[in-house]
């Protein structure tokens, strides 16, 4: 499945500045793996030991994947994933 992934500002250094990229996969986890294939180094900012990093949230079409099936959540064509990090500056 081909989905659109919104990349937050702190991670755009991996995507060459792109705020939205396409990625493929049947599940959110697969999509993250595809992001890693395209943009090496990004996965460790998103996942650790098979779980979403504790300072990152992933939304599928506006739903927090922790309310769904986490990284096993299925995705379909044209779904939108948003990555929302904790932002602590002030």
């Amino acid at each position: 499945m081909a989905v659109q992934v919104r990349i937050p500002t702190p991670l755009r250094r991996f995507t060459g500045g792109a705020e939205q990229v396409g990625a493929a996969g049947a599940t959110v986890g697969n999509v993250v793996d595809d992001l890693e294939r395209q943009f090496p180094g990004i996965k460790e900012k998103l996942c650790k030991e098979g779980q979403v990093q504790r300072f990152v949230n992933i939304f599928l079409n506006g739903d927090d994947i922790r309310f769904l099936s986490n990284l096993d959540t299925g995705v379909k064509d044209d779904d939108e994933l948003s990555i929302v990090p904790a932002i602590a500056g002030g």
Partner: protein
């Protein structure tokens, strides 16, 4: 005369609006890049009492984005300089100061004294301490964070929508999430978000809270997004069954 005219403008609208704001007490934790515009707009709007809390002293590097300060403030306590500026500019509000660091140990007592709290701090751990305390003592507050050209804001009302722990059940360590001191922020972005925090406070004080959700601002693309958030039924802080374990979560 100038100050009187400003106060008249600030109090435009019904007398009830002005009276409500004049009775209110707002806590601003952090008087830096976010807290400077937030405190300014609250004072201008006629909020009756502002309590400014910040342990830091003004540094030269603060000046481009912490607009309450100038060269003469360098080395002085931020809360003292901020209070002087606000008192000189606005005759209305009473400005109280506390040059202390907010932690899990003192946050609840502070927040419980206020009608609304603005989290304008620079650091992950203190932001979660504020969230935990505000939820525990059931006081509304506005969380915000800025970095580079990006900012996001979440207002939490007691018994209302998601809190910060609904999003991030385990608080990141300070080293895992960059602060403005470490990574910088574009001043205008902090200005916008800090001003919005004041707007959130004013809305809440007038009994007209905003729609809710996480509001994000990308200053590079000009794109604003609102991400609707649901309370996490397994939130370690605000889920009903979490009450007994709340102290385990608080500040950790």
């Amino acid at each position: 005369m100038q100050v009187e005219l400003d106060n008249e403008k600030a109090r435009a609208g019904s007398g009830d609006v002005a009276a409500r704001l004049a009775r209110a007490r707002v806590l601003v934790i952090g008087v830096g890049a976010l807290g400077s515009p937030a405190a300014w707009h609250l004072a201008a709007a006629g909020v009756g009492t502002l309590l400014l809390v910040d342990p830091d002293r003004v540094e030269l590097s603060n000046l481009p984005r912490q607009l309450l300060y100038d060269d003469a403030c360098i080395g002085r306590l931020k809360v003292d300089c901020a209070a002087e500026r606000l008192r000189a500019r606005f005759s209305g509000p009473r400005v109280e100061v506390s040059a202390t660091q907010v932690t899990a140990d003192n946050a609840a007592a502070l927040i419980a004294t206020a009608d609304f709290t603005i989290d304008a701090t620079d650091g992950a751990r203190v932001k979660f301490a504020i969230n935990d305390a505000a939820v525990t003592v059931r006081r509304p507050f506005c969380h915000a964070g800025v970095l580079g050209f990006f900012g996001q804001l979440l207002t939490v009302h007691p018994g209302g929508g998601a809190c910060l722990r609904c999003l991030f059940p385990v608080a990141p360590d300070d080293g895992e999430v960059a602060t403005c001191r470490q990574a910088g922020v574009v001043g205008p972005i902090a200005g916008i978000i800090g001003a919005l925090q004041a707007a959130e406070a004013i809305s809440a004080l007038l009994g007209e809270p905003r729609a809710g959700g996480l509001l994000t601002c990308d200053g590079r693309t000009g794109r604003w997004r609102r991400i609707a958030l649901r309370r996490n039924p397994r939130c370690p802080l605000c889920a009903p069954e979490a009450v007994e374990d709340r102290q385990v979560c608080y500040g950790s």
